[in-house]
């Protein structure tokens, strides 16, 4: 990899890691625009009712390792770790996909 290309990667990775470390503390815990629409339009304003209806209609019931960017039982530290793991995984996948798919 060329030197200036390496610089782009390092600078980008640094910014991404800083955002991951801050995200658990700065992110709003309010429902996002779509979740809020689901609560309003599916649950009639009731969050639990909306969740129940949606999960009843869930055709696969997939269980993720770190649901909602958290690690069970580890609180804020778990959130920091979960997002940091995701960011590093994304960086690796980005490099791998880029190299695998780039023009020869």
């Amino acid at each position: 990899m060329r030197k200036d290309a390496k610089k782009v990667l390092l600078a980008g990775a640094l910014v991404a890691v800083i955002i991951s470390l801050l995200a658990p503390f700065l992110a709003s815990s309010n429902p996002d625009g779509l979740d809020k629409s689901v609560i309003t339009l599916v649950g009639g304003g009731d969050e639990e009712k909306a969740e129940e209806i949606v999960s009843t209609n869930d055709p696969i019931g997939y269980k993720a390792p770190f649901p909602d960017y958290s690690i069970e039982g580890f609180g804020k530290a778990g959130e920091v770790m979960a997002i940091l793991i995701g960011t590093i995984v994304m960086l690796i996948i980005g490099i791998a996909a880029g190299h695998f798919l780039k023009k020869s």
Binding site: Y69, I83, K102
Partner: protein, 214 residues
């Protein structure tokens, strides 16, 4: 605006997957033609940065929050909406399978809305108005519009599934994301595009005339 499993029935979700897969294949073809040594580290850095910033929801009106998508930003910097499609596909795969942010059966619908529709609408809007109002204002406008239209597409898809009433869904989704789009998408996209333009002008310069290539 990640659609979760249970909002769209499996048959319709499968149809969105098929459309998404066509665009993913086209984005792979774009990468094979246009992704050079210099763009790989930029692509990887954007993938990590966009994943991280999507985990940081910004509070908006009415007890609601939202985050940027980043596809328009990636498309402008890498010179094609297919860059946004490819990048958002990878981000949505990790978000869905590792963090349950967005469902699995509906991942095609999420890729279609947040990857394809947002990137294409945003990148073309940027491309059309760039000569008239300049690069940064058009990056802002394109990013805002991409997010807004993607949100309306999500409203339409969930209404087509029979889960949402169409008009209220379009009003709510439109309203929330019109606000999210200003700071969450428009402002961040303009800042990053400006920063890249100042530090790596050759990257954007080399793509500005290339237009859209599959």
């Amino acid at each position: 605006m990640h659609i979760t499993d249970g909002l769209i029935p499996i048959e319709q979700a499968a149809a969105y997957w098929i459309i998404a897969l066509i665009f993913i294949a086209l984005s792979v073809r774009w990468a094979r033609k246009e992704m050079d040594e210099m763009r790989v580290p930029m692509f990887a850095a954007l993938a990590a940065g966009i994943f991280a910033i999507q985990a940081m929801n910004i509070p908006i009106i009415g007890g609601t929050s939202g985050h940027m998508l980043g596809g328009v930003m990636a498309s402008i910097i890498l010179g094609s909406p297919f860059a946004g499609v490819l990048l958002l596909t990878l981000v949505l795969l990790v978000q869905g399978f590792v963090f349950l942010d967005g469902g699995i059966s509906v991942m095609g619908a999420n890729i279609l809305a947040m990857g394809v529709i947002a990137s294409f609408v945003g990148y073309y809007a940027y491309h059309i108005i760039k000569e008239r109002i300049g690069m940064i204002p058009s990056a802002f406008t394109g990013a805002w519009l991409g997010l807004f239209i993607a949100a309306e597409a999500v409203a339409v898809m969930i209404a087509a599934a029979g889960t949402f009433p169409l008009v209220p869904a379009m009003i709510l989704m439109g309203l929330y994301h019109a606000v999210i789009g200003v700071v969450g998408e428009g402002l961040i996209t303009s800042i990053v595009v400006k920063a890249v333009m100042q530090t790596r002008p050759e990257l954007i310069a080399s793509t500005s005339k290339a237009g859209v290539k599959a």
